[in-house]
Structure formats: structure tokens, C-alpha cells
């Protein structure tokens, strides 16, 4: 979560090295978490199926760092990074992936339905664009009560082709609700590349905002500082009553759509080049000029945290089968 001091530090120009190091640590935590999830899934320990956000850590960390604790988010099927960045402990996310009562959705949600009301996570959604209209409504509630809060929807480039997206941004702008629509544009709708599903060049997808007369803010989604500063600006715009913002972040998915995706649709040289040039963690490491020792220290800490989350999850409590009917109605 951002603090007032951090905002002052950033001064609209840049972020202190200390804060950037904290971002680095969180991004590496997300990366190690995702890698562990892949490993445990392949080992047959995790039910269901999983989508990891390797390569997209900077969007999760940069956006959520600029939010306040009582701002709310709606996430997507690629949810782990968002949940971590919004403040849910990794052990509770891992426990959810193992289907345990200690999980952040108490075993009812799974990877694609991570919730944590305490930190303002209104849930990850397995229907593309499914969470966007709810964010308009949450923002409407904040506006109605004159609360200085924002509601934030994450979604990808694929979602911008749905009617839900267009109806929601249209309504949100019409009513000038304090919402941020975060477009994590990784250029893929599952296996379908941007050129087959977008009528605009992939880098120009922010133009969608023009159709609604909506404020557009864009940032390099692989640069966590840029994402953070852009989100601060978006938040400022939204809470000041000027209306919602489309926050367009160009990012890159360095793995398949789901864990186990052989990516037969993706050119090997493109994937290799993207991994070598677009990894947000490598980019930040270079910028911070972290020594091998410093990196090893941070990596050791986050890896231990992830390992501990697996131990916590495995020791967790299985729900009783009959608990399945517990929350159908309030």
C-alpha cells in the first residue's frame, strides 16, 4: 500500500530507491510464488487449473502500491499477483490453491476466485471482463457516500472486445464514478494474438478511451515505477470527481495462457526475445544495480516465504464436504 510519505517522495518525478527496492522484493515474491505454483501443479498437488502472471509482476505491484487500503479491486483469472500486491498474505493464497479452509476464499474459490474483503479484494473473475461492471457499481457507492476511495478493475486486451467492457466504461464515464480501468495489455487473448483479435495496433489500444470521452493514462507495464506513478495520477483524477481513467499498461506474458500450455501458437524466437528483453524483474534489477549478494539475500527471503506458504497450505484444514452448501444464501 502507498503511504502519504511515499507519494511525497515520488514528487511526481520519481520514486526513491528504497521504495523501488520494496517493489523489487514484492515482484520477486510474486515471481517465486508463481514458479512454485507451477511446480506444485505439475507435481499433482493443486486441483483445477492455473494461470500465472510471470512477466506481469510490475503491473500488479505498481498499481496496488498506488492504492489505499480501502480502495477496492476486481481481478482476473490471472489473479495471484494482484492478490499478493493488494495485501493478502501468500500463505493464505497458497492455502486457497490447495483448497483449504485457511485459504483467502476458504476453499470455495480457488485460483480464479481469490477474494479478501479485509484488504479490498472484491474477487478474481474467471469470466473475461466479468468483474468490470461490479467495479463501476462499487465506485458509484463511493461517489454516493462522498468517500475518497477508488474502485479498480484489472482486465486484459481480450476483455476490450466484450460488450461488458464497453457497457461498463460507457456507464462509468457517464456517471463520472471514481474508477480506474486497468488494461493489462499483454497482446494475447489466450492463444489468439493481438493482430487476430484487435482492430487497432496492439500498442494503440488505449484509443478505446476516446470512444467514451474518458481520460487515458498510459505507462510501460514492464516499468514498475512508471506504473506506480501513472496509477497515482489516475487515482488523483478519479477521486477528484473528474471521472474514471483508462490506465493502459503494455505488458508481456512470459509463459503460456495456463500452466501446462505448450504454446504451439507462439513463435519460439519471439518468446525467447521477449523473455530476454521484457522481464520486469530483470529490468528493475539492472536499474537498481543490485549485486549478486544483494539479489541472493532478497531471493532467499522471498523464496523462504513461498516455501513456508506451501508448508502452511499443506498443513491446512480440508473443508467438510457438506460445507459446500454453507454460503449459497446469506
Amino acid at each position: 500500500m502507498a503511504t502519504v510519505e511515499e507519494r511525497a517522495e515520488s514528487g511526481g518525478k520519481g520514486v526513491s530507491e528504497e521504495v523501488l527496492r520494496r517493489f523489487f522484493r514484492e515482484m520477486l515474491l510474486i515471481r517465486r510464488f508463481e514458479e512454485k505454483v507451477e511446480e506444485r501443479f505439475r507435481a499433482g498437488e493443486l486441483p483445477g487449473f492455473l494461470h500465472v502472471a510471470i512477466g506481469q509482476e510490475a503491473t500488479a505491484t505498481g498499481v496496488c502500491a498506488a492504492l489505499e487500503r480501502d480502495d477496492v479491486i476486481a481481478s482476473t483469472h490471472r489473479a495471484h499477483g494482484h492478490a499478493i500486491a493488494k495485501g493478502t498474505a501468500v500463505e493464505r493464497i497458497m492455502a486457497e490453491l490447495y483448497g483449504k479452509v485457511e485459504g483467502c476464499s476458504h476453499g470455495f474459490g480457488g485460483s480464479m476466485h481469490l477474494y479478501d474483503l479485509e484488504v479490498g479484494n472484491l474477487g478474481a473473475n474467471a469470466v473475461v471482463a466479468g468483474g468490470i461492471p461490479g467495479i463501476v457499481g462499487a465506485a458509484l457507492a463511493f461517489q454516493t457516500r462522498n468517500e475518497p476511495r477508488v474502485a479498480v478493475a484489472f482486465f486484459g486486451d481480450g476483455a476490450t472486445n466484450t460488450g461488458t467492457f464497453h457497457e461498463s466504461l460507457n456507464l462509468g464515464q457517464l456517471w463520472k464514478v471514481p474508477a480506474i480501468f486497468v488494461l493489462e495489455n499483454n497482446g494475447w487473448a489466450e492463444s489468439t494474438p493481438a493482430k487476430q483479435h484487435l482492430p487497432l495496433p496492439v500498442d494503440e489500444l488505449g484509443k478505446r478511451a476516446q470512444a467514451f470521452g474518458m481520460k487515458l493514462i498510459e505507462a510501460d507495464g514492464q516499468d514498475v515505477e512508471a506504473v506506480y506513478l501513472a496509477t497515482l495520477a489516475a487515482r488523483e483524477h478519479a477521486v477528484s470527481g473528474k471521472g474514471p481513467v483508462l490506465l493502459h499498461l503494455r505488458t508481456f506474458r512470459l509463459t503460456g495462457h495456463y500452466v501446462g500450455d505448450p504454446q504451439i501458437y507462439r513463435a519460439k524466437d519471439e518468446l525467447k526475445e521477449t523473455r530476454e528483453t521484457k522481464d520486469p524483474i530483470e529490468l528493475l534489477r539492472a536499474r537498481l544495480e543490485l549485486s549478486d549478494d544483494e539479489l541472493a539475500t532478497i531471493d532467499g527471503e522471498v523464496t523462504a516465504e513461498v516455501e513456508a506458504s506451501v508448508v502452511f497450505a499443506k498443513a491446512g484444514t480440508d473443508p467438510k464436504p457438506e460445507d459446500a452448501l454453507k454460503y449459497v444464501y446469506a
Binding site: 476464499s105 474477487g123 466479468g130 461492471p133 465506485a139 457507492a141 461488458t164 460507457n170 456507464l171
Partner: protein, 326 residues
């Protein structure tokens, strides 16, 4: 006991809730200056202003979806979907989101959202403005479904729907808006899940919803002339369903007819029939009869529309078939 129309009764419930509780607000197409396409919300803009009586774009998905978000954040939205045919445009938000947030979150969230809509044939709108789709929503765990047939019921049930902690799909019937009935001075909430016995009888139970409650009552009057005593039961809430009241009625009468305007195939009568055969199997003296629309999209020409949808005569014929089996 003042006499009011069904339309006025809906409006009264909305107005009272909005007067008492600033969390309650309305969203929908043409509900503000125009007062709704069925004139239900007339006068509410003047009393409550444009922030609480919100005209929306033609965006059913966003209307329901933003209602969900506002409900999750502590408001009590009542959204109007102009025709229940247009509920189909909001199905993703209703079925995947509203109904499931509570379970998916492991009980962290609830969605106290009311979705009012109306439908019903008899005025030749053709195939896309008069369907009866209530059975679709009964099939979704997490949704509650109400279908009110009288002014008193519609007011008391709507109040309960607004104050229910769950998403409630609230069906009104277009042809019932002008009917009149006495209602108490003070609003008496009617709990969801309680059936109403409109008329007691001993030979046949007709379990009817919506407009068919009135057709069933007319059929019961006719049957009485032939010495057949008909009990008419309106479940009022389709989910949760007052199984106990329905089974008790059929145990008493030993014969049952289900009646609704929706098509018979896969209609709510199928569920009622299953509940009755299981709960009153040893008491049944005749196969359960189902009355509903013929299996066709509603045609435009009045003579064809009339042919497709059920009327009192169809209920009476079904009553007589059950009696003939004894």
C-alpha cells in the same frame, strides 16, 4: 384498507423503502422523467431526485453489474430491466456474478440486489417482449425468485426482496398492473418462501403463478358450478419454494394442476410436479396436469398469440381431466 392497483403497490413499496433508507436507489432504462415504460416509477424522480432515480443507458449487463458492485459496497440497489426478455442480456452478471459471489468468496461477500422486471403476453407484442422466463432463474443456486400476482403481495414481497441479503429476481406481470386490490395502510412485509392459499377447496389443487393465479380463480368458479371444489395456491416465491404448503394442499385434495404462462416444457410446473409426486405420492388419485404455453415463440397475430398462451378454459379443462380419473 385502501384499494390500489398492482402498479401503485409496486411504487408504494419502492417509495417507502427510499423514504426510510437512503441506501435504497433505483437504476434502469427510462425510469426517471418517463416513470418507466410501465409507469411504475412515475413521481419518484420528483420526490427523490436524479441520484436515487437513475436513468441508465441501454446496457443491461452494466445495469445489473453495477447494481452488484453497489450492493457489495453497502447500498440497496433496485434495478429495473424493462422487459424480462432483456434479462437475457444481463445473464452473465446475474448467473456468474450476483448468484456466486457469496459462495466463491467463502461467505465474505453478499449481494443484496433486487432486479425488478416484467413480462407477459396478451397484447400482441410478438416474440421478444412478452416471454415468461422465471424458470431459468430458479435453476441458479444463489438467486431468489419472486413472482407476485396481487397488489398486496407485490408490495409486501418487494419490500422483503429489497431487504433480503441475496440477489432477488422479482417478476411482475404486465397485464396485472391495472388490477386493483385492498392493501393494509401499513406495509406488511411478506416473507420470501411463503405460499398463499387464495381459495380453499377439497377436490383439486391448482398451483399457479402470475397471471395464471387469476385464470385459476376464474376456472375454480366455473368448476364449482359443476360441483368441483378447487383449491388455488400461489407459491409467490419460486426460490425458496414453500414445498410444505403445496404438498399439504395436494395431500388434502389428492389431485393437482400446475399453471403458468411460460411454456410448459421445462417450466416451473415441472419442478412443482416433481415436488408434488415425491411429497404426496401415496395420496394422488390422478396424474398431475400441467398448464402452460404451447412450445412456440410468441406469434404476433392476436389469434395465434391467444392460441399459444393458456387461459382459464385451459385450467378448467385440466381440472376436469384430473377429476375424470377418479
Amino acid at each position: 384498507m385502501p384499494e390500489v392497483t398492482y402498479r401503485e403497490a409496486v411504487r408504494d413499496a419502492l417509495a417507502r423503502a427510499m423514504r426510510e433508507d437512503e441506501r435504497v436507489f433505483l437504476m434502469g432504462e427510462d425510469i426517471a422523467e418517463m416513470g418507466g415504460s410501465m409507469a411504475v416509477t412515475q413521481g419518484l424522480l420528483e420526490e427523490f431526485g436524479p441520484k436515487r432515480v437513475r436513468n441508465t443507458p441501454i446496457s443491461e449487463m452494466a445495469i445489473v453489474g453495477s447494481g452488484i458492485g453497489a450492493a457489495m459496497q453497502g447500498l440497496r440497489p433496485v434495478v429495473e430491466i424493462m422487459y424480462e426478455d432483456f434479462l437475457t442480456l444481463s445473464m452473465e452478471q446475474l448467473v456468474n456474478q450476483a448468484a456466486k459471489h457469496r459462495t466463491m468468496s467463502g461467505g465474505q461477500l453478499s449481494v443484496p440486489l433486487t432486479i425488478r422486471t416484467q413480462g407477459g403476453a396478451g397484447w400482441s407484442p410478438g416474440a421478444q417482449h412478452a416471454q415468461q422466463l422465471e424458470a431459468w432463474f430458479v435453476h441458479v443456486p444463489g438467486l431468489k425468485v419472486v413472482f407476485a400476482s396481487t397488489p398486496e403481495d407485490v408490495r409486501g414481497l418487494l419490500w422483503s426482496a429489497i431487504y433480503d441479503e441475496n440477489p432477488v429476481v422479482f417478476f411482475e406481470h404486465r397485464t396485472l398492473y391495472p388490477i386493483k386490490g385492498e392493501i393494509p395502510d401499513e406495509l406488511e412485509p411478506i416473507p420470501l418462501g411463503k405460499a398463499r392459499i387464495h381459495r380453499e377447496g377439497t377436490d383439486v389443487s391448482v398451483i399457479a403463478t402470475g397471471r395464471l393465479v387469476h385464470e385459476a380463480l376464474a376456472a375454480a368458479d366455473e368448476a364449482e358450478k359443476d360441483g368441483i371444489s378447487v383449491e388455488v395456491v400461489d407459491p409467490r416465491t419460486l426460490q425458496p419454494l414453500d414445498e410444505e404448503a403445496i404438498i399439504a394442499s395436494v395431500v388434502k385434495t389428492t389431485r393437482a394442476v400446475t399453471a403458468h404462462e411460460a411454456v410448459t416444457r421445462g417450466g416451473f410446473g415441472a419442478e412443482l410436479t416433481a415436488v408434488i409426486q415425491h411429497g404426496a405420492f401415496d395420496y394422488l388419485d390422478a396424474p398431475i396436469e400441467r398448464v402452460g404455453a404451447k412450445f412456440a415463440p410468441l406469434p404476433f397475430a392476436p389469434v395465434m398469440e391467444e392460441h399459444v398462451i393458456p387461459h382459464a378454459a385451459d385450467v378448467l379443462a385440466a381440472i376436469k381431466r384430473t377429476v375424470a380419473r377418479a
